[in-house]
Each structure stands twice: as C-alpha cells, then as structure tokens.
C-alpha cells in the first residue's frame, strides 16, 4: 500500500525537452535503457567479429566480402592476416567483457530496477548517474576508433599482457596507437563504472523505502549491490594499471618493460620494469570482473525462477549469503590466471585453494535452485526458460572450472580451447542467458508491451542448443591440445580436427542468426506487442506495484511502504496466490 503524501519525492525536476528526456537524462530508467542499448550494440558488433574469426578458422583462404574496406592491410582481398585475426579477437573480448557483460546485466538492469525495487524515486546521485553512462559511451567510441586508424586495433587480446602491449609497433600491428587508445578507453570505462558503483551502493544503503530492510530486498537487488561493491574495488585497481600502461607507451616510463628487452630485433630503451606487475594488477581486477558479469545474472535468475515456480526458494537468504561469499573470495584468486607465469609453486597452491573454495558457495546456490525446482509446478515462458538455461550453462561451464583451478592440470590446459570453452559457457553465455531472462521478464515493465512468447521460445532453443554445439566441442579440442589465438589450423598438427572446427563454425553462424529473432522481437513487440498490465507475472516486488511503464518519478508522488519479504508466493486463503511487498495484509504461518 502506498501512503499518499504531499512530500515531493523525486531527486530532480521533471525532464523538459528532448535532450533532457532522452539524451542527457537524469532519470535512472532512461539511463538503464541507454546502458542496455549500448550493450546491445556492442554484442552485435562483437558477435559479427566472432563470425569473421570462425569463418577464417575453417576457410582460411576465402575472403569475407567487404572486410577489406575495414582494413586494407589487415584483410587484403577480404582474407584476414594472422595479425588481424588477433585484432578482431581483442576487440571481440574487450567489447564483450566490458561493454556487454558489465553494461547490460549490471549497469543496464541495475540502473532501471534497483531504485524501484528498494522503493526510491531515483538513484542517490542522478547527475553522477548520467555522467557514468556518457563516460562509458565515450570509452566505447574511443575503442571503436581503433578500427579506423591505420594501425588497426591492438593484437594483444583483452588482457593486454605487458611487455608486448607496452612497447609499441615493434611488437606488431595495432600495438602503437591502437593499444594506446585501448588503454585510454578502458581507463575512461573504469571512471564510468566507479561512478556507477558509487551510486548503486549509496542508493541501496540510504534510499530504501520505509519498511524495506536489507533482507527484504529482492535477490537481484542484492546481486547488484554486491556487484557494485566488487566493481568499486576492481575498477579502482584497473584504472591505475591502465594509467601506468599509458605512461609506458607514451611517456617512456618503465613500469612494465624489463631491461634488455629485444622486440622485433630492436633493443627497447626501457629498464627494470616488471611484466608480471601488469598481470597482477590486471587479474586483481580481471577475476572479480568475472563475478561482476555473473552475479547480476544469478540474482536475476533467482528472481525470475521464484516468480515462475510460484513458491519461495528453499532459502533465498542463503543464496544472498553465498553471493556475498563469492564476492569476498573473488579477491583471493587472481593468481589462478597466472599459474604458468613462473610463479612459485607454493603461490599456485595458495591461489588454487580459494579458487576451489569458491565452488562451495557456487554449488550451494545451484543446489538451492535445483532443490527448489524439484517438484515445482514451473510456468514455462521465455523468461523462465532462459533462467533454466542459465543454470545449465553455469553447471556445464562451471565443472571445467574444477579442472582449471588445479595448477597441475591447468599447466597442460592453459591457453587451449578448453579454457576458452570454460569461460564462454560459465561467464559469457551464462551471463547473457541471465540478460535474456531479465529482458523477457522486465520488458513489459520497461516498455508497457508484452514480448512475443513464440519468438522468445524459438530464440531460446536456438541459443540453448547452439551454445552447446559451439562450446562443448571447445573442451574436446582443448584436451587434444588445440591452442587458442591461432588464426588457422589447416596445415599443421590440428588438421585432423578441422571437421570439429567446421561443425563449431556452422553452429556459430546458425546460433548467431538466431539472435536476430531476439532483435526482431525487441523491435516488433515495442511497436505491435500486446499492452502490458502493471503486473503481468503476478509478481511481488515493488516494480510490479506501479504502472507499466513507470511514471518518471516511479511511484507517482507517493512513498511506498514495505511490509513483507520479497517472495510471498503460494499464500493460501486469498485471491491469487501471492502477497505484494507493499500490501499491508498480514501473513500468518499455519
């Protein structure tokens, strides 16, 4: 129930004019959609890049029409050079990790729904919020610029390992201006994420409605909050790392470049730097980044599944505690990316132990999902299908994590397709399934229209089967010794496995094409979709207590009051089977 109030409730004046409404908006809902839109743009660019790479891997002599217009040197006649393959791979990884997996589930959905779910009219700092998006957008533009400079994008991968990333063009194309722009882009991105994380944390701590205790927040709000805490620490370390890399590149310092380094037959005029320092700083951010991508998806999936099962989870609270443990442990494990860096075997052991420990909270969460699903009369729709798909990906991709967490096995599997298959399933596709689940679930709230369910389900089966067809064989290829980052395998020891690569590539084209169903559905439903009621899923959290789409100040000039835990489903003795969080009815346990 909402108390009528004469109190003004919004943190800024109603928007006036086109610019304030749609471009430089202070409204968290518009900013959330902007982040989501940027993620969508980035994911399609990155997907096309992966298509080009998959095509080249199996038909290395056939040109891709039109590609030479992008880079004459990198793709003469449309056939990409090994270096340009690496450039595309770098851009695929950077776009996906930063601009898709961080933007959409965390900054996108989080911006839109966190304030509403805690009963606030907006984020704590709307101007910072607007800045955080536009800073991120500038970072995106800077990154994309690398496609159009003569040098091309860097070839160092999304991890930009020093010293090769720091010595400039001597180490290969794209490592001059391309790499500098990459570092500048990521540094700017960090600033945007820091502003965003600050907003998320302050809003969660201080802007909650009356009665909204911390434990009454829905699982996804918790996930965004924990993610913001991780992001605040992770991006605060990546930013200095990028600054030092930029200085090594443009100012001649030697933070990461060692003495006596000869690259491309040239002695580098640097002294004393430590290449491992970059790896430490990068992975201290890089591993928590994995959880920045996956935790929001875990929260969203929990939220969607409970609604679809019409009954509470075995323990939504343990899920929250587990997410906190994962967040905490994420700080202790960065060295497991560096097992082959020559580190002391005892250090490897120290990093291996907490890595294996993370599987405990992750398993607890999974078991709670599965245990709650057991015997549940789940409503099958696109949102719940993708949530179930998420669990499937999370488990399938997570199991290979057990292997990689152990130094003795990782040394064999390092830099093979096994690793690529592992992280694509457990953090890449799983997080994207979380985004899809959230999209099908919240689209009615965000636009006031329902999405087309038939197209949604079709999209699910394309994505689900396709993902397994692509990434399961990756594990197999890795086990037989197929190294990553090679642009072609036709005339070496991997030739016998070319048919597997062909299968993967064809699966990738079909699965990718299936994503256009989603894009079509997004646009078609916005124009022709059935009008959405305020609460189409009979859900309980605060976002469903307001009209679809919500008014600019969310609660229509009222202060919501919260009376219940977020998931009161399966309640007997009332019309319907659920009690909304702001409903003043008292639930008595029988």
């Amino acid at each position: 129930m909402q108390e009528p109030s004469a109190q003004p409730v919004h943190a800024h004046a109603p928007p006036k004019g086109f610019l304030r409404n749609y471009v430089f908006s202070l409204d968290h809902k518009v900013i959330g959609k902007q982040y989501y839109g940027l993620g969508l743009l980035a994911v399609f660019i990155a997907m096309v890049l992966s298509w080009i790479m998959r095509f080249h891997l199996v038909w290395p002599t056939v040109g891709v029409p039109g590609l030479e217009f992008l880079s004459k040197a990198g793709a003469p006649g449309g056939v990409i050079t090994p270096e340009y393959y690496l450039s595309l791979m770098t851009m695929h990884g950077t776009l996906m990790i930063f601009f898709v997996l961080t933007n959409a589930p965390f900054a996108g959905f989080g911006n839109y729904f966190l304030p509403i779910q805690v009963g606030a009219a907006d984020m704590a700092f709307p101007k910072f919020n607007m800045m955080s998006f536009w800073v991120t957008f500038v970072a995106f533009l800077v990154l994309i610029t690398t496609f159009f400079i003569p040098d091309g994008p860097p070839i160092s991968g999304w991890t930009a390992y020093a010293p090769l990333s720091a010595v400039g063009n001597d180490a290969g194309p794209g490592l001059g201006w391309g790499q500098s722009l990459w570092a500048v882009s990521i540094a700017i991105f960090c600033i945007g994420q820091l502003l965003g994380s600050l907003n998320f944390i302050a809003t969660t701590l201080d802007m909650r409605a009356k009665g909204m205790t911390l434990m009454r927040m829905p699982s996804c709000t918790w996930a965004w909050f924990i993610t913001a805490c991780i992001g605040l620490m992770a991006f605060a370390v990546l930013l200095p790392a990028c600054l030092l890399l930029i200085l090594d590149k443009v100012a001649g310092t030697s933070f990461f470049i060692p003495s006596g380094l000869v690259v491309g037959d040239k002695l580098q005029r640097h002294a004393g730097g430590s290449p491992l320092l970059w790896q430490h700083m990068f992975w201290f951010f890089g591993h928590p980044e994995v959880y920045i991508a996956i935790l929001p998806a875990m929260g969203i999936v929990t939220h969607v599944l409970i609604t679809s099962m019409r009954k509470p989870m075995l323990s939504a609270k343990v899920i929250i505690y587990s997410m906190m443990s994962i967040g905490f442990l994420s700080w202790l494990v960065w060295g497991h990316h560096m097992f082959v860096s020559g580190m002391n075997p005892f250090s490897s052991l120290l990093f291996s132990f907490p890595t294996l420990t993370i599987t405990i909270p992750a398993t607890i969460v999974t078991l709670i999902w599965l245990g709650s699903l057991y015997g549940a009369d789940i409503q099958i729709n696109s949102a719940s299908l993708f949530a179930l798909g998420f669990i499937s990906m999370f488990v399938s991709g997570g199991i290979s994590g057990f292997f990689l967490a152990q130094p003795s096995i990782d040394i064999y599997l390092h830099a093979t397709y096994f690793v690529v298959g592992h992280f694509h399933m457990v953090m890449g596709v799983a997080a994207i399934f979380g985004i899809f689940s959230g999209t099908y679930f919240w689209y009615p709230k965000m636009t006031g229209r329902m999405m087309n369910e038939t197209l949604g389900k079709l999209h699910f089966w394309f994505s689900f089967i396709g993902t397994y067809c692509i990434f399961m064989p990756f594990h197999y290829l890795g086990l037989v010794g197929n190294v990553r980052r090679y642009s072609t395998f036709v005339d070496d020891y991997m030739a016998p496995y070319l048919p597997v690569h062909k299968f993967i590539s064809i699966a990738a084209f079909i699965t990718g094409a299936g994503q256009f169903l989603f894009l079509f559905n997004l646009i078609y439903s916005r124009l022709r979709g059935k009008e959405a009621p305020a609460n189409p899923w009979n859900a309980t959290s605060l976002e469903w207590s307001i009209p679809s789409p919500p008014p600019w100040d969310n609660f229509g000039g009222k202060h919501p009051v919260v009376y219940h835990d977020p998931y009161q489903y399966g309640v007997k003795g009332i019309k319907g089977d659920f009690v909304m969080q702001d409903s003043p009815e008292l639930i008595v346990e029988e």
Partner: protein, 214 residues
C-alpha cells in the same frame, strides 16, 4: 500460510529529507543527506583502493633493483604544511556555517572568509606541487628518468588531480553560499570537508611512502 488483515509496519526507514523553501521543494527533492555522506565515504574508499594499487605496484617494481633515490625538494614539506593548515581553515569555515544564529541573520561573512582562505591554500598547494615538478625537471629528473622519478611524478600528479577535485567542491560551496537565497545544507559543507581532510591524510601517507621509499 493463510492471511489476515492489517499488520505492523516494521523496518527502519531513512528520515525524510529536510525541506527547503516550499517552491523549491515542490519541484525538486533534496536527497537524503545520509546518501551524500555515504557517497563521500564510498568515494574515499575507491580512492584509497587506487592508491593501494599504486603502492603495491611500487613495492613490486622496487624488486627489480634499479632503485636510485631521488633527493626530494624541500618545497614538498612546505606544501605539506600548506595542505594541513588548509584543513584547519576549512574546519573553521564549517563551524562558522554551523552557527545557526549567524546563518539566520543572513551573515555568512566568517564562513566565506575561512572558505576563501582554504581555497587560497588549496590553490597554493597545487601551485607548490607544480613548482616541485619544475625544480625536479631543473635537476634533470623527469617522469621517465628513473623508476623512482616515475613513481614520484605519478603519485604526486594523481594526488594533485584529486586535490583539484576537492577545490571544485570548495568552489561549489562558495558559489552556493554567495547566492541570494542560501539553500546549502550543513551536510554538504561537512561532506566536502571530509573529502578535503582525506586529501590531507592521503598526502601524509604518500609523503611517507615518497620519503621512505623513493
């Protein structure tokens, strides 16, 4: 589970924000003051984390063994004194603004005076750091000269950028205080002061690192 009606309202809620003038309040909401305070502390946490990263980098980098100590310009200590004194003057400004009688009488003279002095000290600190870089350059010590000089420039430079952020905050206070109708809340002044004091504390830490390690 079954259901009966009407219920206790439980849970803690943040206090409603204090009201400015009625007309102003009708169109905007002043955010909960505690959010701003949280924001400042969260920001301080992130900055601390960044400097922890720089310090770790320094320790790792020192392991390479090409560590040549830099003779620090004495001006660095003068700048330290300037920054610390500016914290005291800002505290005077904050207390003066907290004096309700004076505020209600519409007189912010004491506050503005101390704020002006703080700003002058703030600018003096940044200018002083610039002079330090000039002196180093005059000795032939540039950013890329040695690993020590690299860290010296980076640490002082990044700190100076954060001080400039603080100066922007102080200027914002000054502008808001010189308006006809002063709607600036006490907490805004207090939060800016927290940030400014943190700049002082951070500088003391950096000075320690610089003198001991560089």
């Amino acid at each position: 589970m079954s259901i009966t009606t009407f219920p206790p309202v439980t849970g803690q809620a943040p206090p409603l924000p204090p009201q400015g003038s009625a007309a102003k309040a009708a169109e905007t909401k002043l955010r909960s003051p505690s959010a701003s305070t949280s924001g400042i502390w969260i920001g301080i946490f992130a900055i601390t984390m960044s400097f922890a990263a720089f310090t770790s980098a320094l320790f790792v980098r020192q392991g390479s063994g090409d560590w040549i100590h830099v003779v620090l310009p004495r001006l660095l200590y003068v700048n330290t004194a300037v920054l610390l004194v500016s914290s005291i003057t800002l505290e005077m400004a904050r207390r003066a603004y907290g004096n309700i009688q004076e505020r209600e009488a519409g007189s912010l003279r004491t506050t503005l005076l101390w704020l002006g002095v703080t700003l002058a000290f703030g600018f003096a600190f940044v200018a002083g750091q610039y002079m330090v870089w000039k002196q180093l350059a005059a000795q032939g010590i540039y950013l890329a000269t040695s690993s020590n000089s690299s860290f010296l420039y980076v640490l002082t430079g990044v700190h100076a950028v954060h001080v400039l952020g603080g100066i922007t905050g102080l200027l914002r206070l000054l502008v808001r205080m010189t308006r006809k109708q002063v709607t600036l809340r006490m907490s805004s002044v207090a939060n800016t002061a927290i940030y400014w004091h943190f700049m002082g504390v951070l500088w003391l830490y950096l000075l320690l690192v610089i003198t001991v390690r560089l």
